[in-house]
């Protein structure tokens, strides 16, 4: 008899491995029936997992960390034993703002440093001219979007809590908000950047993958007690997702993947736009034939799906940096334990997958694709790390935070 797993998701491109596992037989092959439920907000995802309406969900990568730190309204510890992929979001600016940036030398490559320098210049000019502050949107407070946007701004000399106004705009309202000038820019997951470009209201200025190379975006999240009481089911689910994710990552499957995701009960958006986004053919920095950019979203393989403890800890470091959490040694431990590479390893053991030897890595240590220590010795990772070259050593969070001008501000 097939076991039923109820899974919530938000209609975004990076939900693909979950959708493919449910619809193309990968879950079935593991003896599971994945019962998908489309949701409208991250708050609903969080609450329905917390109260048990969903067993698992497609979740913003920092949510399980926030749950481990007790920062969410419902006290329900959560874990993330799987990452849906790397990258997936981008910063899209309104046409008028992009034109100002282009005039200030943002360039055509979507390079975070050049675009950020131009943005800093535009912000300074607006301040001098007495114009209102720019409003930038993210999709949820505890999101990779929020922390990557803030990281980028701060590294370019823009103080996120002083020089701009950061608000939340749900993805379905992003195109209208840009068109009506309610916001000047958004950091949102695909396909919403592509849709804003398609609608002629925005320009993709920088990709999340350019700000934090090989950074995670969404994870498979669940309540800790569900994972404990359903160990076999979870292992089967992780195997199904692993194989679904390999399928999603294969270039020859992109057209079929785009057609599947375009379905009215899934993303409900035009397949050609989804396919272009999967191919990494988005128009960046308003130049149709601009310099090739790295893939905005990467699926497949241990490199893209391993739940690195260092990812959880980087999100924690940023929560402390921006005053969303306090710094405490026990909180460091709690954040680290929110990501569960041990469960990932255990589930994939029968498949002889080449897995990294470590559970955490120094983010930014790999500047080029590099062979790393792994179970079969053939795993290549990277490049990883941040566009400004700063290194994140997960064992030295305090030192890392002290290195920022804005410093740690948690109520330690």
């Amino acid at each position: 008899m097939s076991e039923i797993v109820r899974a919530g998701f938000i209609p975004l491109l990076d939900a693909a491995p979950l959708i493919v596992a449910a619809r193309l037989g990968f879950a079935e092959a593991e003896g599971l029936t994945l019962d998908l439920a489309r949701e409208t907000s991250w708050a609903n995802i969080r609450d329905r997992v917390a109260i048990g309406h969903f067993d698992v969900a497609h979740m913003l990568a920092p949510i399980p960390v926030a749950a481990a730190l007790g920062l969410l309204p419902l006290a329900a510890p959560m874990i993330a034993p799987f990452s849906f992929g790397l990258g997936g979001n981008a910063v899209t600016l309104s046409r008028p703002l992009w034109q100002a940036l282009a005039a200030a030398g943002a360039g055509t490559g979507g390079a975070p440093a050049a675009v950020g320098a131009a943005l800093a210049q535009v912000i300074a000019a607006r301040l001098a001219a007495g114009q209102p502050q720019l409003t930038l949107a993210v999709v949820f407070p505890f999101s990779a979007h929020n922390y990557e946007l803030r990281y980028w701004l701060a590294a370019c000399g823009i103080e996120p809590d002083r020089d701009v106004r950061i608000v939340v705009v749900p993805p379905p309202f992003v195109v209208d908000a840009l068109r009506e000038g309610v916001v000047d820019g958004v950091c949102v997951g695909e396909p919403w950047n592509s849709l804003a470009v398609e609608a002629g209201v925005g320009v993709i200025a920088v990709t999340g993958a350019a700000i934090w190379r090989s950074g995670p975006e969404k994870v498979l999240g669940m309540r800790t007690d569900w994972a404990e009481s359903h160990a076999e089911t979870l292992a089967a689910l992780l195997r199904a997702l692993y194989h679904a994710s390999l399928w999603c990552g294969a270039p020859q499957n992109r057209a079929e993947l785009a057609r599947l995701l375009a379905g009215p009960d899934l993303l409900d958006k035009p397949a050609p736009i989804l396919e272009a986004a999967l191919d990494g053919r988005q128009v960046i920095a308003d130049v149709a034939a601009g310099e090739p950019h790295g893939p905005l979203l990467t699926f497949g393989g241990p490199a893209a799906t391993f739940p690195w403890a260092s990812h959880a800890l980087w999100f924690y470091s940023q929560m402390v940096r921006w005053g969303h959490a306090g710094y405490r040694p026990d909180a460091v431990l709690a954040a680290r334990r929110a990501y569960r590479p041990d469960l990932y390893r255990a589930a994939l053991k029968p498949w002889d997958v080449d897995l990294p030897s470590a559970n955490a890595k120094v983010e930014g240590a790999l500047t080029a694709p590099t062979a790393v220590a792994s179970t079969r010795g053939r795993l290549v990772l990277g490049p990883d790390g941040f566009f400004d070259g700063r290194i994140f050593d997960p064992d030295r969070i305090e030192e890392y935070l002290a290195g920022f001008a804005d410093g740690p501000r948690g109520d330690s």
Binding site: S41, D47, P141, D161, R165
Partner: protein, 204 residues
């Protein structure tokens, strides 16, 4: 209906619901419960600005509204929001949280507000959301029933005309066919109507 309580002019309640009928039902309920200041806001257009301007003590929001994530931002103290809010969660009462989610509604309150003052409002929201779902369900059932009756009438008419029989006989024939084929009466009627219109050369 209970006699309206004396109006509580000290609480401002915002309802975020694009379903105007349901919002009106809830608004009326809150007035009945003595809440004087109730505003209905739309989630689509710059909700945050509307909320900051209104500065409500309680926000009731439809769970289907993506704008729920806008309210999440108000948890954090920032320049944008004067008074931080919290999700209305009575930790002692898990059943209530489930009841709210099942009803499709969530509530946010300004930090520091006494939960006893808010609980009746949340209870009211849950019961009115449920009442609305029931109404919608009943309406849906009535619509389906009407549509089915129409199809059966048309099928009867076709049989009466083509076989020269009376209404009762036509109905009995439909029922007998349905029983013999273990199908629903309305399905048999629908097949007949489709077949007849195909034979007439019209659109099915």
């Amino acid at each position: 209906m209970n006699r309206p309580d004396p109006p509580d002019t000290t609480l401002t309640v915002a309802i975020v619901d694009d379903n105007l009928v349901r919002a009106a039902i809830l608004e009326e309920g809150l007035h009945m419960a003595g809440i004087a200041q109730v505003s209905v806001l739309s989630g689509k257009t710059n909700l945050l600005r509307q909320l900051v301007a209104l500065d409500p003590d309680v926000v009731i929001i439809d769970l289907e509204d993506p704008s729920r994530d806008v309210l999440e931002q108000m948890f954090q103290v920032s320049r944008v929001v004067a008074r931080p809010v919290a999700m209305f969660v009575d930790r002692s009462d898990r059943a209530m949280i489930e009841a709210a989610v099942d009803a499709g509604v969530s509530a946010y309150i300004v930090d520091g507000l006494k939960r006893e003052r808010v609980k009746p409002i949340v209870d009211m929201a849950i019961s009115r959301f449920n009442a609305f779902s029931r109404l919608r369900g009943e309406l849906e059932a009535t619509r389906t029933e009407l549509a089915e009756r129409k199809v059966i009438d048309r099928a009867k008419g076709i049989l009466m005309k083509n076989r020269g029989i009376g209404e009762e006989e036509a109905y009995a024939l439909l029922r007998k066919t349905a029983m013999n084929q273990s199908r629903k009466l309305v399905e048999v009627a629908r097949s007949l109507v489709t077949a007849a219109s195909l034979l007439d050369g019209g659109e099915p």
